[in-house]
Symmetry: C2
Subunit: 130 residues, 2 copies
């Protein structure tokens, strides 16, 4: 398979696939003409990576997961540990965003949004010194 077909079947841009090869996540063969030549297993890996990325796993976490995926003697506890760590990160991010959201939505609600300069949003940002 050439990169175009793999791109289509995995849903990943060709650029991204080349990048993943650069950083050692996949190692496709090469044809005589220099083109990358992907096996089914490479495609599966890339699809795996795409899915893991949509779940928000970092590239390094993906590398770990891929290693476990390919290691028949893994313990599921290892996988679970990685996933739980990521879940905890997601929770932190959500909490941070919610804090921002709460503060910001109060400010937005308080702002009349008309043609006058008076603005609670700017007042808040300026530390009330205004």
């Amino acid at each position: 398979m050439n990169i175009g077909e793999v791109s289509e079947r995995s849903g990943l841009p060709a650029k991204t696939i080349r990048y993943y090869e650069d950083i050692g996540l996949v190692r496709p063969l090469r044809s005589d003409n220099g083109y990358r030549s992907f096996r089914e297993a490479d495609l599966h890996k890339l699809a795996f990576l795409g899915r893991a990325r949509t779940l928000g796993f970092s590239i390094e976490a993906c590398r770990t997961l891929l290693g476990l995926y390919e290691d028949g003697s893994r313990e599921s506890a290892q996988v679970k540990t990685v996933a739980e760590a990521h879940l905890a990160e997601i929770d932190v991010k959500i909490a941070q965003l919610r804090d921002m959201r709460d503060t910001l939505s109060h400010l937005v609600d308080a702002c009349r949004g008309d043609d006058r300069p008076d603005c609670p949003i700017l007042r808040d940002l300026s530390g009330g010194r205004d």
Copy 2:
């Protein structure tokens, strides 16, 4: 004021303050010895930026907000528009993270996390082909 004092009073690292000067968000004076010399107004701007950043505004949004802050003839509608756009982005991010969280927490719950290789998380990532 030298950068150290401004850093302490604004809560921003000196590195960040220099960076903000680089990209034109503040323009401190210079002393004869080459040191940056900050006025109170510069400190206020930096504190403003720090606060806006904690609310998640991008640097470019901060630049816009700072411009409005300094423009006595602004209309609060302009500020509100920027804030609402940012609020919408936050909502999108929260929704994405929640989706990830939901999927991932189901998978984590389904994984026994013991010494056996069988793992629903990997099964999901591999597209069920496992």
